[in-house]
């Protein structure tokens, strides 16, 4: 009994409403609110609608209170999985190729080029801002049968007739690597520029060879940048549509094309929504896994 009397009187606790009010008045939250409101209207709202549409009966265009999972059954039971295999396979291959191609370039930009790095970067940025349709059309001209730049040069210089590389999976892959390379390149460079030179020199002084430095020092520190780049490339590549259409002809139907088809020619919005939700779910899981591992403050250079 005495112990309770000795206990200090409880401090006045702010009730939940008050602390919530305080949280709302933080300058951080206040400045975040315009973007957050926009995010709700522009991103969360549309997603909820797609989710809703994926559960209504086929070929309906509104919500009338009857829900069904038929659309999902439809995807699994019919051959839509082929589109998913194509899209995700091509996206994975794109990421692998982009990493291999961009690593030496990012390394050069971060370490070797010195004051040439800025102009080189500027030149590398240009294609990013030219519409991908224009650039893919450029590849179409390069690879065109007979009069394309490649075939035309071969004929003019060596007098040989060559076929065309157009309309094959390899060419689609090349087009995707071409379009999405900058998205791997720049984050990788950002990651590599975080590696302190002293640390690499120290490792080298302690007798580590090039491969050991790469594996033990460079790669772990640059990893967040590489991860962001790969993730961005992968997600964008999953949603790719022009590459397969313009360079691949009608042979390969990727997921984005299947979705577009359901919404235009087939006029089957619920099925299109269900395919979309499938794609969103798979990429979403990947994004969340990677995001949890990232420290954005450090990556973007907080001091």
């Amino acid at each position: 009994m005495t112990t309770t009397l000795d206990a200090p009187p409880p401090l006045p606790q702010p009730n939940m409403l008050q602390s919530f009010g305080q949280w709302l008045r933080q300058p951080g939250f206040l400045t975040a609110s315009p973007v957050l409101i926009f995010f709700l209207i522009g991103f969360v709202g549309p997603l909820v609608i797609v989710l809703g549409f994926s559960f209504v009966p086929e070929r309906t265009f509104g919500f009338h209170g009857d829900w069904t999972v038929d659309n999902y059954v439809h995807i699994v039971s019919e051959s839509y999985y082929i589109s998913f295999l194509w899209s995700f396979g091509l996206a994975a291959a794109t990421v692998a190729c982009c990493l291999l191609i961009s690593y030496p370039v990012s390394y050069g930009l971060a370490r070797v080029f010195g004051r040439w790095a800025a102009p080189v970067m500027l030149i590398l940025v240009i294609p990013l801002f030219v519409s991908e349709n224009v650039r893919l059309f450029g590849w179409y001209l390069v690879l065109l049968k007979g009069g394309g730049i490649l075939a035309g040069s071969a004929k003019a210089l060596f007098g040989v007739e060559t076929g065309t590389l157009l309309y094959s999976p390899g060419t689609i892959l090349m087009g995707m690597v071409y379009v999405y390379l900058p998205y791997t390149l720049f984050p990788t460079m950002l990651g590599l520029s975080l590696v302190p030179r002293d640390q690499m020199d120290a490792a080298s002084d302690l007798g580590a060879n090039r491969w050991q430095i790469f594996r033990e020092v460079e790669l772990p520190i640059a990893m967040p940048g590489i991860l962001i780049g790969s993730l961005l490339t992968f997600v964008l590549a999953v949603g790719a549509i022009s590459e397969a259409k313009l360079l691949g002809g009608a042979n390969i139907v990727v997921v984005a094309h299947a979705i577009l088809h359901e919404f235009t020619y087939a006029q089957n919005w619920p099925l299109g929504s269900a395919i979309s939700m499938f794609a969103i779910a798979i990429t979403g899981v990947l994004v969340i896994i990677v995001m949890r591992r990232l420290d954005l403050d450090r990556l973007l250079g907080r001091k």
Partner: protein, 269 residues
């Protein structure tokens, strides 16, 4: 020995980068070359050059309509994205607040989202809310993807901003608006500039979001896609080339502006 092998690796990297640059620019060069070809169908090597397709394209009022629509969309996107991204970046990088980490990850999500799916989701949403597809709707769609990117770009500048400058100005008796105008804005100006440039150019080149949301107001990229899917006309390379010139000019002007600004500041210091 060690130094020799290092030089070897470095020159290999230079050659590799050169090859990547070539890979980047071959198709763009292809578009520009073919836009100056005289014949109706593209054949390489080009036998006769002419600018007649430019004349025709301009006479057909096509460039005007298409490029003007694209320009309106990109300009609106740049302005709105700058305002939203500016506040978004302060919350992202400047203030410490509960929920910041969650906020940082949340607003990144639209970037890591298949764009075609996003465009379609927005179309459904617009239909549901009752907004008709138009170039204004396309502006909104572009913003969903571009605002997070601009926020990131400005954040990088905000991370480098020394907060004590603001506090010093407050101590010297400046009010909130004066501090904002005289201290915060000038310090963040390069980030805001690059953010605006990014927003404009990314919107200018965007296809997947426009195609779902712009309705009858066709942008350059949409027109190209439709024409390319249905066959070749000599106007395709011409319109494409004009859009390339636009991007390159804006990008270079922006770069020169940034470099000149840095020079001026260095001179003053």
């Amino acid at each position: 020995m060690e130094r020799r092998s290092k030089r070897w690796v470095n020159s290999l990297i230079v050659v590799w980068t050169g090859a990547v640059l070539l890979f980047f620019f071959v198709p763009i060069a292809g578009v520009i070359i073919s836009s100056f070809g005289k014949s109706r169908y593209f054949r390489f090597p080009v036998r006769a050059w002419s600018t007649k397709w430019y004349d025709q394209t301009i006479n057909a009022n096509l460039t005007e309509n298409l490029h003007v629509t694209s320009f309106y969309v990109a300009a609106c996107v740049a302005v709105i994205a700058l305002v939203l991204g500016f506040f978004g970046a302060l919350a992202f990088a400047r203030y410490d607040w509960k929920g910041r980490i969650f906020y940082q990850r949340l607003i990144m999500l639209p970037i890591f989202f298949p764009q075609a799916v996003l465009g379609l989701a927005l179309l459904l949403w617009f239909t549901y809310v009752g907004v008709l597809p138009s170039w204004e709707a396309a502006v909104f769609a572009h913003l969903v993807w571009i605002v997070p990117i601009v926020t990131l770009v400005i954040s990088i500048q905000v991370y480098g901003f020394d907060v004590s400058q603001e506090e010093a100005a407050f101590d010297l008796g400046a009010n909130r608006f004066q501090v904002f105008r005289e201290v915060t804005m000038p310090a963040l100006a390069p980030g805001l500039f690059s953010g605006g440039l990014f927003a404009f150019l990314l919107s200018w080149g965007n296809f997947p979001l426009s195609t779902y949301t712009s309705g009858a107001d066709s942008t350059v990229t949409e027109w190209l896609y439709t024409k390319m899917s249905s066959g070749y006309t000599p106007m395709i390379p011409t319109i494409g080339a004009i859009s390339v010139y636009g991007s390159v000019i804006i990008l270079f002007l922006g770069y020169i502006f940034l470099v000149a600004r840095r020079r001026r500041i260095e001179k003053r210091a």
